[in-house]
């Protein structure tokens, strides 16, 4: 086999099998973590800090939208989970959690 073909083959193996294997193992591990949190405290926060920032921004920008109430409900669900739970699925700063207000 030519050197070029060998390089392409190795790149393919890493880009496909490597990525797929890592994704599978990581995903199974993360879902296991979620299960442990549910067993321990009944629930966990559904959104990451970045995702929560997106949610807040949406509510700010679309306050009168027909979908605003649904978004506010989701925000409230997240806020309640962060206040109720002692262990979190995502990584949070204490100050981020304390500064969360009801919308």
């Amino acid at each position: 086999m030519s050197i070029a073909a060998i390089i392409v083959m190795i790149v393919c193996i890493v880009a496909l099998w490597g990525v797929a294997s890592v994704a599978l193992v990581y995903s199974l591990g993360q879902e296991e973590r979620k299960l442990q949190l549910i067993k321990k405290q009944g629930s966990f926060e559904p959104y990451s800090p970045q995702a929560l920032r997106d949610l807040n921004r949406w509510i700010e920008q679309n306050n009168t939208s027909e979908h605003a109430q649904e978004m506010r409900n989701v925000h409230e669900e997240q806020r309640a989970a962060l206040q109720k739970c002692t262990s979190y699925f995502y990584t949070w700063n204490r100050s981020d959690i304390e500064s969360l207000k009801e919308i």
């Binding site: 073909a5 392409v8 880009a15 994704a23 970045q50 409900n73």
Partner: protein, 483 residues
Amino acid sequence: MTTTISREKWGSRFGYLMATIGAMVGAGNIWRLPYVTGENGGGAFLIAYFVLLYLIAVPGLMGETSLGRYTRQGLLGTFRKVYGNNKFVGLGLVILIFNIVLMSYYSSIVGWSIYYAYHAVIGSFTQTQFDTAALWQAFSSNTALSVGMHTVAMLTVTGILLMGIKGGIERMAKWMMPILTVSLIAIAIRGVTLPGAMAGLEFAFSPNWEYLARGETWLAALGQALFSTGLGWGIALTYGSYLGRNDDIPLGGGVFTAIGNTSFGLLAIFAVFPIVFAFGISPTSGAELAFVALASAFGNMTGGYVWALLFFIGFFFANMTTAIAITEVGVTTYKEERDTSRSKAVLTICGIIWLLGIPSAMNSSILGYLDFVVGNWGLPLATLIIMFTIGWKFDANRLRILSLNRGADLYVPKFWESIIRFEIPTIMLFIMAYFLYSNLTATPWKTVSGLAILTLTVPLCMWIMSRRQASAHPATNVGGQSS
């Protein structure tokens, strides 16, 4: 809050991932990808393919799965929730019809793989002077046998679907996909150790960089990236509807599904081409590759019985998990729309598919025609409809915030929205226009008739659903709000 109906859920994360990847890995990964790769510049094609896979298939699958998880309903229920109680629910019916038509002829392919798995079990390919070309010729010209195998295929699909999402689809996928993986790995190891096998890998991986500048290479890569991942057919949406509210989608339903699906294609390259080249067989694709060339090569290998058995059982599993997924789209939708039991829905949908599949089983020209129409325009149109629905009607921004990033193992940033809104729909329109342009002179009758059928299907479905909506669903939910 989103109003949802009580429904079954996947039993485990592993089960969902295996079922989803099983849905996407089908005959195309094994008998098409290796050849398309070799014919389109080897490594250069793979690079084009990876780019498109990450740019289109991964984001598209994330969107489709998250819409299903949000609505927690089948195709028509999802469209009703997004569009409201009107004729546009008919767009969901269009996708459903394409799925049923697709399954009507895919069932014949499953039947072929069952027939060859049977021959592998009884050791036909290792008999002295066994002629695989004659076997394929005899099988494909025997109408009764073809219809019989189509029937066996549909009976098997029916049996599995009757056991439900968790007890049927998930349980089967949890066994079938690992067995398929091990089978292909074993064949690949045997294949690359054959004398002359490296020429096969050279054919597949040797990069001809000038191919990257050719439009045909990118089109072939685009076709493979879209069709082999099943994006926009309603499968990801249906399977996503059985996910829990806090299950991850971006990593499992997007990255793993698309990349894992292609990983099977790569495994097939290792399993198929070394053997093909080692035995001096001309590289090809489709039924001829699997049922004539490879079957013959297995017969000439030491321990050929085992290799043929592994290959054809694995090939059958790949086809079966895909067939189950395509059929489940109709089953889930019918069950919800008719508010009936799962058993009734399975028997009805499988019965319809079996009846519709008889002409394709009897005549390969009909199978070819349906594949031409559905593949060239039906599935791109289905993908266009789903992406338009997610991107513009539902609002990609809202879906990303509400559903896609909920419980996500991987944060999906804002640029995902422009892929769903602009990139994928534009590409779909381009593909349909290109297929029209390239086929119009070569096969004018097939092209015009196929387009005419499609053109009529959309307004007809919208008309049917507008009539049905008025009587059956006096009130509905739009994006979770009552209307």
